[in-house]
């Protein structure tokens, strides 16, 4: 307790924050990997991210992370300030990703209580080389960059003082008092000045987000600090006295005044500015370390000052996009607690129906008007509660998909293939549980698509296809299932090759004619353990462990994998995964057992007449409905249920459709439509064909969920 720090907590926060930063970083990088270079915002963002990571790692004494992030920060610092041309963009992207990987790896070690001992030598060498290469011959800069090394791991902001050609101006704009939305006019001006600006600061700074700033501007004028290579005339050319601007005052000032921000500019009027006290405070606080650092570094053109965060913030705004919309507030909660909450709510719903349908209420002559009103209200609340907890578990697939983006990038770079990655429906929300389970299988599939699916560039050209390969990852929610597919426009699966391999491995059934196998059946071979058609084992795939793991992982969460492929045009891997959450189901009864079928599967209900049934000699039954013939499956017989309805007149036919196949289920009666929470059948009981789970109904009894697709098989 003596040191006053809870390092455990600090470490947690450190790891959490950094992993989020790194994720953001990757997103930015991958988003722009195909551009010619990073845009200004991204450079700034990456710089800031690295800076933050460096700072916090420094505090936590993880030296290797600090070192690496610092080096990358240097690179982006250089990019930001010197805007060098001809930066090998892809190489840069790779460097950033490497650093991100390195840090992630180290953080993984820290998380597991190990020592972050990763060796930085190699990565540092590469980064150094890269930095040197983009710097070219500009020796003068190098010295300057080195000084950056002295930076403390605190939130300092590095402000450029640019070259000797730069001029610094203070610009005061006075707007016509009758102007509406003066803040927008002011922003227009700032925007125009950005064209020539090397750096720009303005006050009030919140002109975009704060409408009240319009009044401030009208009252006190709009102040701009500008660093530019242009002359005063040029500026006057941009800022013209017109219908909106009443007066323009431009003064040239020194670099020192400029970097002091508005301390000097706005000092005489700051007192009466609303909401500015805070920033004054901040500035005063941040002033403390400033003088020391400043003395160390005498001001000279081409040099840098280390400026504290207060004024820097205003600066940062200057070149930013309009502020991003409010960030969502997140807390992370143990999934176990969520599960507990969900169970409890499930119980609540059940006990609610026990209360509301209590036999005691059935006493004749009881006046229940008020009770029913209250009951209705309660039912509404509990439904809402259920919906909320369900939505809490739902997460968009976005993050998972973005990880795939990274994989496509890495693998395609290494293999020298030019591949485009497209995401469709990345905002599809699925249960968190599912997300955790599909990440690995998806990775495999995507990797396969890039490695095996897409042909090498030359081959594509030879075939007359577009040179750029394309991998598409798409997701959608349909009839209670998540469909995720990985599509590539590569060569497709080679049927003959698979057959040959199957024969070689001894899994081929020689009693069957080769042509009697459907394509689908053939493709299923590649999901068997140890099966790989790729002769050459590559770094990424081809060892034959993969597809079987993918399939077993997907099956573990009740999903299926389907393979479609057109030779020469590519293949599609379709994952179908049931959402573990709530499904809309039809409850029906056979004997004393209740069954549920997903509403989406049911086509229609038909009351049965004896003469509708046609029995074939081999015992199979069919039913004719409006000229169409459907096979009939008596659920009671199928599962050997006792006391099921034998009098067909009282039975109900449920026509279900799955994968374009229709058939009828014969059940005793229907009980109604209900939203149900799917629960797995306990592992203790071995898997029963055609059952995919169970659920509790409103009265607390248990119904079994029918897996219609499973029954078809």
């Amino acid at each position: 307790m003596g040191d006053g720090f809870n390092t455990e907590d600090m470490l947690d926060v450190y790891l959490f924050e950094n992993s989020q930063l790194l994720e953001q970083l990757q997103d930015i990088v991958l988003e722009q990997k195909d551009e010619a270079c990073f845009d200004e915002d991204s450079v700034n963002e990456i710089f800031r991210t690295m800076h933050t990571i460096k700072g916090s790692s420094g505090v936590m004494m993880f030296e290797n992370i600090t070192e690496v992030s610092h080096k990358l920060e240097d690179i982006f610092f250089y990019l930001r300030e010197s805007k060098p041309k001809n930066v090998p963009h892809l190489e840069l992207v790779e460097h950033v990703l490497n650093v991100a990987d390195f840090i992630t790896n180290e953080m993984g070690k820290i998380q597991n209580g190990e020592i972050a001992d990763g060796d930085t030598t190699e990565i540092m060498e590469k980064l150094d080389k890269f930095l040197d290469s983009i710097k070219g011959g500009k020796k003068s800069k190098e010295k300057v960059i080195k000084e950056n090394v002295h930076e403390e791991p605190q939130q300092f902001y590095l402000a450029p003082m640019a070259t000797s050609k730069s001029h610094f101006y203070k610009i005061y704009l006075t707007y016509q008092p009758e102007i509406q939305l003066a803040n927008i006019h002011a922003y227009k001006m700032v925007y125009a000045l950005k064209e020539i600006a090397e750096d720009i600061l303005y006050f009030p700074e919140d002109i975009v987000s704060n409408e009240l700033s319009a009044d401030e501007i009208l009252e006190n004028g709009f102040k701009i600090l500008l660093q530019t290579q242009s002359t005063e005339e040029d500026i006057r050319g941009i800022i013209q006295v017109g219908y909106d601007i009443e007066k323009v005052d431009i003064y040239e000032c020194s670099a020192k005044e400029f970097q002091q921000g508005f301390d000097s500019v706005g000092s005489e009027i700051r007192i009466d500015l609303e909401g500015d006290f805070e920033s004054i405070d901040k500035k005063e606080k941040s002033e403390e370390p400033k003088p020391v650092l400043k003395e160390k570094e005498p001001m000279a053109p081409g040099d840098f000052v280390i400026e504290s965060k207060g004024p820097g913030k205003a600066k940062k705004l200057a070149k930013d996009k309009p502020r991003k919309s409010e960030k969502a507030n997140f807390i992370s909660v143990d999934v176990k607690k969520m599960d507990m909450l969900m169970d409890l709510i499930g119980e609540l719903v059940i006990s609610e129906s026990v209360v509301l349908q209590n036999p005691d209420l059935k006493v004749p002559g009881l006046k229940l008007d008020n009770f029913n009103k209250a009951a209705g209200q309660m039912a509404k609340i509990s439904t809402d509660l259920q919906n909320v907890i369900m939505s809490m578990r739902m997460m968009p697939l976005l993050n998972t998909f973005q990880k795939m983006n990274r994989i496509v990038f890495d693998v395609s770079r290494k293999l020298g293939k030019d591949i485009e990655f497209e995401m469709i429906g990345e905002n599809t929300e699925v249960d968190k549980n599912i997300i955790e389970h599909i990440s690995d299988p998806l990775m495999h599939l995507v990797r396969n698509a890039v490695d095996h699916g897409i042909e090498p560039n030359e081959e594509r050209v030879a075939k007359g296809k577009v040179e750029k390969g394309k991998v598409t990852l798409s997701a959608k929610n349909e009839s209670g299932k998540v469909w995720i597919s990985v599509t590539d426009n590569g060569g497709g699966l080679n049927r003959d090759k698979i057959i040959a391999k199957a024969k070689k491995q001894g899994i081929w059934d020689y009693t069957r004619d080769e042509h009697s196998y459907t394509d689908k059946e053939i493709y299923q071979f590649i999901t068997l353990p140890g099966f790989s058609t790729n002769e050459n084992v590559t770094e990424y795939s081809g060892r034959g462990v993969g597809m079987d793991v993918v399939v077993s992982n997907i099956q573990a969460i009740g999903g299926t994998l389907e393979i479609e492929s057109t030779p020469g045009e590519g293949s599609v891997m379709n994952l179908k995964i049931p959402t573990l959450a709530i499904i809309d189901g039809i409850v029906m009864e056979v004997g004393k057992s209740s069954f549920v079928i997903e509403t989406g599967m049911v086509k229609e209900f038909v009351g049965l007449q004896e003469n509708m049934l046609v029995q074939e000699p081999d015992g199979e039954e069919f039913v004719m409905i409006r000229g169409e013939c459907f096979p009939v499956l008596r659920l009671g017989e199928w599962y050997n249920i006792r006391d099921y309805q034998v009098d067909l007149e009282n039975c109900m036919l449920v026509i279900v459709e799955v994968e374009k196949k229709s058939f009828c289920l014969l059940v005793d009666r229907l009980r109604g439509k209900q939203e149900i929470v799917v629960k797995p059948i306990p592992d203790y009981i071995k898997k029963v064909k055609g059952l995919s789970g169970c659920t509790q109904l409103g009265d607390g009894s248990i119904a079994l969920i029918l897996d219609v697709a499973g029954m078809v098989e």
């Binding site: 119980e347 899994i507 059934d509 306990p682 009981i685 029963v688 009894s701």
Partner: protein, 167 residues
């Protein structure tokens, strides 16, 4: 540790037929009265089905059927002992709960092997505890739940696999 110590040597005993059986109390989560069971088709006869235990769905087995004895109709004395063995939660339907007894280790004898192996329930009896003049058959919960089932499940899986490959 104190928990463990208070539970040491204690057994939940129940009556089935003429015999009394005991299960180590550590394995027992709770004892509930008999409740409606949802049958599961195509499962072993002794697996009676599923019950809803306050939102948790757990399988239940009938101890008499497990011992391959004639089932006895359920009455209001019928209880379900909820067992937790290696995180598998299973309900055990018993005719009647007897009591919780303490049986010191020195009063526990290995189960006699002579001539008794043909009786199916003896597979599950781990040892025999003496309480005064009476004798309790102490069950091995793991065997009760798994053992042959596990083998069975594995063999079923294998069958399935071979079927698939054959297709």
């Amino acid at each position: 540790m104190s928990d463990f110590n208070t539970q040491k040597d204690k057994y939940v005993t129940f009556k089935s037929g003429h015999e009394y059986y005991g299960i180590k109390i550590q394995y027992v989560n709770e004892i509930i009265v008999y409740q409606e069971i949802t049958e599961i088709p195509e499962s072993e006869s002794y697996i009676k089905g599923l019950i809803n235990l306050r939102g948790k769905i757990i399988p239940v087995i009938d101890v008499r059927l497990r011992f391959k004895q004639e089932p006895i109709p359920y009455t209001d004395r019928t209880c379900i002992i909820v067992l937790n063995v290696d995180n598998t939660v299973v309900g055990l339907i018993v005719e009647k709960i007897a009591e919780v007894v303490e049986i010191q280790e020195e009063n526990i004898l290995p189960s006699p092997t002579i001539g008794n192996t043909d009786k199916p329930q003896n597979v599950f009896v781990q040892s025999i505890g003496k309480v005064g003049d009476s004798v309790k058959l102490l069950l091995d919960p793991e065997k009760l739940l798994n053992d042959e089932d596990k083998l069975l499940i594995e063999s079923v899986n294998e069958e399935e696999n071979t079927e698939e490959e054959g297709e």
